[in-house]
């Protein structure tokens, strides 16, 4: 097992330091779901295909280590709300050991 530490700030503003495995082919959205840091049905609705923006996060540090945004992610962020310069779809961020110490904040969920 090779875990890294990620700090996730939930939608209520509470910070949680969680373990994220680097050997399970996981993405950040799945880590958030795994630790139940956002209610089911309000995150990762599309399953991680960059099609719903419910997993939008604000990257608080290590932005230079983030993978490039793909077309689908850019397209989805154009249709999303509460988008900031540091917004990313967490389903598009693969958990790598370089991301140890990453801090992210989950964006608000727009029920409409």
């Amino acid at each position: 097992m090779s875990d890294i530490k990620i700090t996730i700030i939930d939608r209520e503003g509470h910070a949680h330091q969680v373990d994220a495995p680097t050997d399970m082919n996981m993405n950040l959205m799945e880590v958030i779901k795994m630790h139940e840091l956002a209610p089911e049905g309000t995150i990762g609705i599309c399953g991680g295909m960059a099609m719903c923006a419910s997993c939008q996060c604000y990257i608080q540090n290590k932005e230079h280590l983030m993978p490039e945004k793909g077309y689908e992610e850019e397209d989805m962020l154009d249709q999303a709300f509460f988008v900031e310069d540091n917004s990313r779809l967490s389903c598009q961020i693969h958990i790598e050991k370089e991301l140890d110490g990453l801090e992210v904040k989950i964006a608000p969920y727009n029920a409409d």
Binding site: E40, G41, C46, M49, M51, D78, F81
Partner: protein, 348 residues
């Protein structure tokens, strides 16, 4: 059986029902069968369908359509199931948004993530102006003739409508959060051309954050990006936010079904029936302890559900589950598929 949702799970339920001689009709809000697989990711490969090391989502749908063809399912496509009424005899009438009525003894909800509806921007008073200046889609372009229109969004539909309405409306403004647009290249070029000619008023690095007006929309509040976050009030007759579609459980959420985690609660220990006897929910739309949202799980749920639905429809009939390798498949169209005799080996 009436099946709401023509995605993979709904389609496979037709097959399982057909083996029991139950005829099915499907309703789907999308214009073609296949659900998300056909609408959103037809060209994406799926790797976890048993015995298919790799299959494109679109091909999976085509194969399912071929598999259920002998059972001649009916389709009502492009209509959304809106209301349900339970009749005295325990059967149901489901009415679509177009007013089409379907009557069946059993209703199966295989609605996946729900029906895809326009995404509404999080502007607090937006619902107040719906149909009073705010619309999420353009049904009748003539409604905008000689009117002032503000469109928000940066995708193809925002660009295409901005181009189209630039000839119809008296003024078209396009508000987008970035300087770049991700629509089709020729649409992007056309919009910038029209902007240069002054036919489209481009407002980029900005978003609409407020709406004003007494009875009807009179102006929008536009916030420009930047440290000062300055706000601009723009008078307009119409505001059309075009931010794509997102899945919603929709009217089904008001059918009196027990909802948990944005999904329909079912009894997974028995038959995937909901809290309303005679209404089942299978596939991604349901939830139960240990639920996995996988197509293969939807297939399993469809098979189990059909046994229970059969007993509900024919309470006095006895039934024994049959294997297709033994009994073959007899279609309602008179077709019959069965194993050739010589395929069967004797056991010594």
């Amino acid at each position: 059986m009436l099946i709401i949702g023509a995605g993979p799970t709904g389609l496979f339920a037709v097959f399982e029902a057909g083996l029991l001689k139950l005829k099915c009709h499907l309703i789907d809000a999308l214009p073609q069968p296949g659900g998300q697989c056909a609408e959103i990711y037809p060209k994406k490969p799926i790797y976890d369908i048993p015995a298919f090391p790799e299959v494109l989502a679109g091909d999976l749908v085509d194969n399912l359509m071929e598999q259920i063809r002998p059972f001649e399912p009916g389709f009502t496509l492009g209509e959304r199931a809106e209301t349900i009424e339970k009749l005295e005899d325990g059967s149901f009438v489901v009415t679509t948004n177009e007013g089409t009525e379907h009557h069946a003894p059993v209703v199966v909800i295989a609605g996946g993530l729900g029906s895809f509806e326009p995404r509404k921007p999080p502007i607090t008073n937006i619902s107040k102006y719906e149909n009073k200046g705010v619309s999420y889609m353009i049904k009748e372009p003539e409604d905008y003739r000689d009117k002032r229109v503000v469109i928000a969004g940066g995708g193809d539909s925002a660009l295409d409508w901005a181009i189209f309405l630039s000839d119809v409306a008296s003024e078209v403004s396009l508000v987008h959060r970035r300087n770049e647009f991700r629509g089709a290249l020729d649409s992007v070029e056309k919009v910038s051309e029209l902007a240069k000619e002054g036919k489209i008023n481009m407002i980029t690095e900005a978003e609409v954050v407020g709406l004003k007006g007494d009875d009807h929309l009179e102006s929008v509040v536009i916030r420009h990006k930047g440290e000062a976050s300055e706000e601009e009030i723009k008078e307009t007759d119409h505001f059309i936010p075009l931010f794509g579609l997102s899945p919603k459980l929709g009217p089904i959420a008001n059918w009196g079904l027990e909802i948990e985690k944005n999904a329909i609660k079912v009894d997974n220990s028995y038959d995937y029936q909901t809290n309303i006897p005679g209404i089942y929910a299978i596939g991604d739309v349901n939830t139960y302890p240990g639920k996995l949202k996988l197509i293969l799980c939807g297939f399993h749920e469809a098979a189990i559900m059909c046994q229970s639905a059969y007993q509900r429809i024919f309470p006095d009939k006895k039934y024994v589950m049959k294997y297709t390798t033994v009994s073959g498949v007899s279609g309602f169209d008179g077709s019959k598929k069965e194993a050739k005799r010589e395929v069967v080996k004797s056991i010594n």
